[in-house]
């Protein structure tokens, strides 16, 4: 990789399109059909949702600081748990990566924009009404549903109208995801620049191709599950009621058929980001590109075949337990391939440790731990002890916060110069990383012990022997939360800064957005497609 190409970028947006219709002010954002504007909106939306969901986590952690009921009553606690899970998964993490997809896919494959810019706008603008429905549910009689993000029947049948709001929010979120994914798949399959063969695409694009496929396959299934809940609630059906020949466990099957692929929908784009960042800071090409692609594809396929590992305690037949255990364990193999490839990429590289790299290393380290705790959970007899305990909470925060969220941070620091045209403050970025890293472990590492020793999840109060670890966890949580305000500050400071960033601030970066486009990236990426190699 050659030395830094320090292009002095020119500030005027490309003249060829000066006569296009560009509404100003708020209307620019409302009506935009530009993938970068839409990507930006996705990212900001996701951050706002992250703060909202994070606030709910703070309520949870504050209540759990010590035994006894202090701050909220049990109903509100359950509502916080439910909304925290739903908002973080559907409001924060997924939109964040769709934001990345919007910004980067057209640039990385040499396309002018997304395949369907207007529909792209709709995919985004469906999110605010959905979020609104979720938030409104807090204020209706009966409050938000207190059933957990998994929305298990028949508890859902008992809830008030907040449940209906949540169901419709899920429908709208699903529409948004499906439209967004169709757009992404079509863009990748049909808008690649000449010479950009599938196997030359940056890995981030590959991960999104596969993620979008997963989304299109499972979001409709989730829609089906909540639709059945709705008709059970209001229209007299008995899908989840034994008196009518149904079964509450049927809900769980449908939910997890969606839910397990869903967790990889969260993880796979994160793999993509990390696969861009690690080679860039190792100044060495990604090790095992082809096997990376196949590994992601295998994870995606396997993810459809393992859903009942969330249901070991529901009383599955013993053969089903065994099958799901074997299939689930198998996922460790392709995931391991990815981990080994990342390490091999660093091996004998020429490493530097700017903030994006630090977050990627944090990802690598903590995601692997989270993966191993997943493996522990996949062993049926062990899971019998651990299911619905804080061990599970620890597991999935390792893969989702230290996995997905950290890699989103890595990606934001990595591409922020390209997006804004300004360099972020490296020192503050590093401080943000170290605070996040330390506080993260403080919150969630001890939760492994809580789970092992027998503290159930989704409880507002606990026996006194769990006090110390809960206190550590809560203090870590407040620290982690406050550290994220620093992140907000760093981003705003970067946007407001006057110091232009070079075209290619990272020596080892080699995808089209760095090599072929100025910084900040022009409004339309590739009006005439570049030729690749």
């Amino acid at each position: 990789m050659s030395a830094v190409i320090g292009h002095e970028h020119d500030h005027d947006h490309d003249h060829a399109h000066g006569h296009e219709y560009h509404p100003g002010g708020l209307m620019r954002w409302v009506k935009t059909t530009n993938h970068k504007d839409i990507g930006t909106m996705y990212l900001w939306f996701s951050f706002v949702m992250f703060l909202t969901g994070g606030f709910m986590a703070m309520v949870i952690r504050a209540e759990l600081f010590k035994p006894g009921m202090q701050i909220v009553n049990p109903e509100v606690f359950n509502q916080m748990t439910t909304l925290h899970g739903l908002i973080m998964v559907f409001g924060a993490i997924m939109p964040a990566f769709v934001g990345f997809a919007n910004w980067l896919i057209p640039m990385q494959i040499g396309a002018p924009d997304m395949a369907f810019p207007r529909m792209n706008n709709w995919s985004f603008w469906l999110l605010p009404p959905a979020a609104l429905l979720l938030i409104i549910s807090l204020f209706v009689p009966g409050g938000a549903p207190g059933v957990g993000w998994t929305l298990y029947a028949p508890l859902t049948v008992q809830q008030g109208m907040g449940m209906d709001l949540t169901i419709f929010a899920v429908h709208i979120l699903g529409m948004s995801s499906i439209m967004g994914s169709i757009n992404i798949v079509t863009t990748i399959l049909n808008l690649r620049a000449p010479g950009m063969t599938l196997m030359k695409m940056p890995l981030f694009v590959w991960t999104w191709l596969i993620t979008a496929y997963l989304l299109i396959a499972v979001m409709p299934v989730f829609a089906g599950a909540v639709t059945m809940t709705l008709t059970d609630r209001h229209f007299g059906t008995h899908f989840f009621n034994a008196a009518g020949g149904g079964d509450p466990v049927l809900y769980q099957h449908i939910f997890w058929f969606f839910g397990h692929p869903e967790v990889y929908i969260i993880a796979i784009p994160a793999f993509g980001v990390v696969s861009q960042v690690i080679p860039a800071f190792s100044r060495k090409p990604l090790f095992g590109y082809t096997s990376m692609v196949y590994a992601v594809a295998s994870i995606a396929i396997l993810s459809f075949l393992v859903w009942a590992h969330h249901m070991y305690t529901t009383g599955l037949p013993v053969t089903a337990q065994l099958y799901y255990m074997y299939a689930t364990m198998l996922i460790a193999v392709p995931t391991g391939v990815k981990v080994f490839n990342w390490v091999a990429t660093m091996w004998k590289g020429s490493l530097t440790f700017e903030t994006p790299m630090l977050f990627s290393l944090g990802f690598l380290f903590l995601f692997t731990i989270g993966g191993f705790s997943g493996l522990v959970l996949s062993i049926v007899p062990v899971d019998i002890q651990l299911q619905d305990t804080y061990y599970v909470v620890a597991h999935f925060h390792y893969v989702m916060v230290a996995g997905a969220l950290f890699s989103a941070f890595a990606g934001i620091y990595f591409w922020l110069p390209k997006w804004t045209g300004h360099m972020y403050d490296e020192t503050l970025g590093k401080v943000h990383f170290w605070l996040s890293f330390i506080f993260f472990n403080m919150i969630f590492f001890v939760q492994h012990f809580l789970g092992l020793a027998g503290m159930p999840r989704r409880v507002p109060d606990y026996a006194p022997q769990f006090t110390d670890f809960n206190m550590i966890s809560s203090i870590g949580a407040f620290g982690f939360g406050l550290s994220q305000l620093l992140f907000l500050y760093v981003v705003i400071k970067t946007i407001r800064s006057h110091e232009p960033a070079p075209q290619k601030p990272w020596e080892g970066a080699d995808s089209l957005e760095w090599t072929h486009l100025p910084t900040p990236a022009p409004y339309h990426s590739f009006v005439t497609p570049p030729t690749v190699k």
Partner: protein
Amino acid sequence: MIKTLFQKIGAGALTMLVPGMLWAQDRAKWNFQEPHTSVAREMYDLHTIVLVICVVICVGVFGAMVYSIVYHRKSIGHKAAHFHENTTVEILWTVIPIFILIGMALPATKSVLAMRDTSSPDMTIKVTGYQWKWGYEYLKGEGDLAGIADGVQLFSVLSTPREQIYGNEPKGENYLLEVDTPLVVPVGKKVRVLLTANDVIHAWWVPAFGVKQDAVPGFIRDSWFKVDKPGIYRGQCAELCGKEHGFMPIVVEVVEPAKFAEWAGKHKTAAAPVASTAAVAAAGGGDGKGTYEKVCSVCHASGVAGAPKFGDKVAWKPRIATGADALHNSALKGKNAMPPKGGMADLPDGDVVAAVDYMMKAAK
């Protein structure tokens, strides 16, 4: 630069080490509770094996990672190599994990099979989850337990006073893990439990027994345990079941068979027949419809808190099946979220009974 980095890594490692040091002090807090059945012991050992394997792999992976972080950094002048594939290693690190996984799966399979073998129990107990308490019914004893406790029924409700929960009193020793009437079983006997629920899914979990089984309304699931030591064992409901999910513990008292027989004998006679309310009904002749509309409809019209809806045949059917007396009784004395007399303590008994009859008729 390197130095500060090392300091940071050191600090990180220290936060991990401190727990390790405390481990020795108070082991119970860091790991599974002490197992007291063969199944729980297998779970314990299996977890240990898997954990050790995972830690070993972690050491390898993180070792390689840290090595290149330390020695392949640009700041010490390391130049990047340019390799980006190597079929041999790639095959190796695909195949070796498969073998490691097989190694884990084998013992796991063995304990799954043992865990699920509920055949030839010494006694069978039906466990029913309610919002929010546990109901136990001794169905059938075999061998020397035959008939000893058959038919004994009891309910087990959290006995921690609200004052302790809301911080108005100091918390007691078994805060949140104590009940008014524990389940009692004999030591050394294979006890099979049949689980079901009345309203939503609950899960019956006693860590020391290695039993966690969802109780699904409308279905029976089973599990078993054979405890090796008398004592008091505590667990909790492990499936979110509504607002009091955190407050429905399980306490099992495991006693010597002789003591068990004594206990069972006492409970068999104590199961007093439910006072008949027929007399009240006959005498009353209260205003059923009016009472329903004034009081009961608050909840029963829309089904608040799981109240059976007025006229909802499906919801009422199993209740009606328990008999008019039983329903009169629950309406007068209260049942779970259903307050006695619908919360109107000064309502004449006759009116309540008439309201029940009125509601039953509407659901027939």
